[in-house]
Assembly symmetry: D3
Homo-oligomer: 61 residues x 6
Amino acid sequence: MPVVNVNWWKGAGEPERRQLVSELTETVSRLAKCPPEAVTVLISDVEKDHWGIGGKLAADL
Amino acid sequence: MPVVNVNWWKGAGEPERRQLVSELTETVSRLAKCPPEAVTVLISDVEKDHWGIGGKLAADL
Amino acid sequence: MPVVNVNWWKGAGEPERRQLVSELTETVSRLAKCPPEAVTVLISDVEKDHWGIGGKLAADL
Amino acid sequence: MPVVNVNWWKGAGEPERRQLVSELTETVSRLAKCPPEAVTVLISDVEKDHWGIGGKLAADL
Amino acid sequence: MPVVNVNWWKGAGEPERRQLVSELTETVSRLAKCPPEAVTVLISDVEKDHWGIGGKLAADL
Amino acid sequence: MPVVNVNWWKGAGEPERRQLVSELTETVSRLAKCPPEAVTVLISDVEKDHWGIGGKLAADL
């Protein structure tokens, strides 16, 4: 049932995504009291020149 | 008015997206009682190594 | 696998939501070539005074 | 930097949300190699009659 | 065409939302080179006990 | 604190994104009464053949 969207800067590789899915699913399924199979995790790699912080593009920081 | 976001695995082609937009718009505009022109559909193709199910990357299943 | 988010104005009742989920799931599972059980639909009812169109709150239109 | 959206069924209380934020932030900041202060977590409690699975409202299952 | 989602803490009133929609629409339509009528803005008021920063619920800060 | 997602058609360049982040952040931080540093803006460039309006792909219009 739970759907988790992760938006982070482009740069992490497949091993990090694999670990992210594993750990987030364990946490969410435990706290939502649902089986891990019910948990969906969507990962979006965002370029720093498409991400703004404090009024600036992260690429410019 | 309605905004529909579809996240699905990368793989469907333009014909499927065209059909998806056509059918989703018909359904949503009918049930929302609004003109089809008011319906926006955004489609995100997600790589299987950016999608987690049951604690695993879909690419690993 | 597919995750569909529908944002529309608050007002539709449970019968419309039931119909929306049924039809959207049929369409998406057919076009994504996945079983209906894999399709998640999230529906957000949005108040008109939290929705902007053409620079105005929908509530003011 | 990372922004995590969690959509799950309404029902978890504040203690679970507190734990969710704590654990998700630790995992994401470690894997994104960014400070915990940079991680934002947004939690949406969704009613079962606004959530579709396999073509049905979760409330009907 | 552009769809803008704003998630912020619950607390702003309708006047602020009206102003937000007006200014965001003007900026986005100018930069996207599209008419203001094409711009949709969705505003989500999020409770502080559903928002995590730095591993803590904003309500606890 | 505020998180703003902008979905628009692919085509704007970095200068427009820079301007978008600058202006959106100023508006949102003023109206949310929070420092600009607290505002995150995520920009998604969407291909016209992944965007539906009025039942058609924007690429077909």
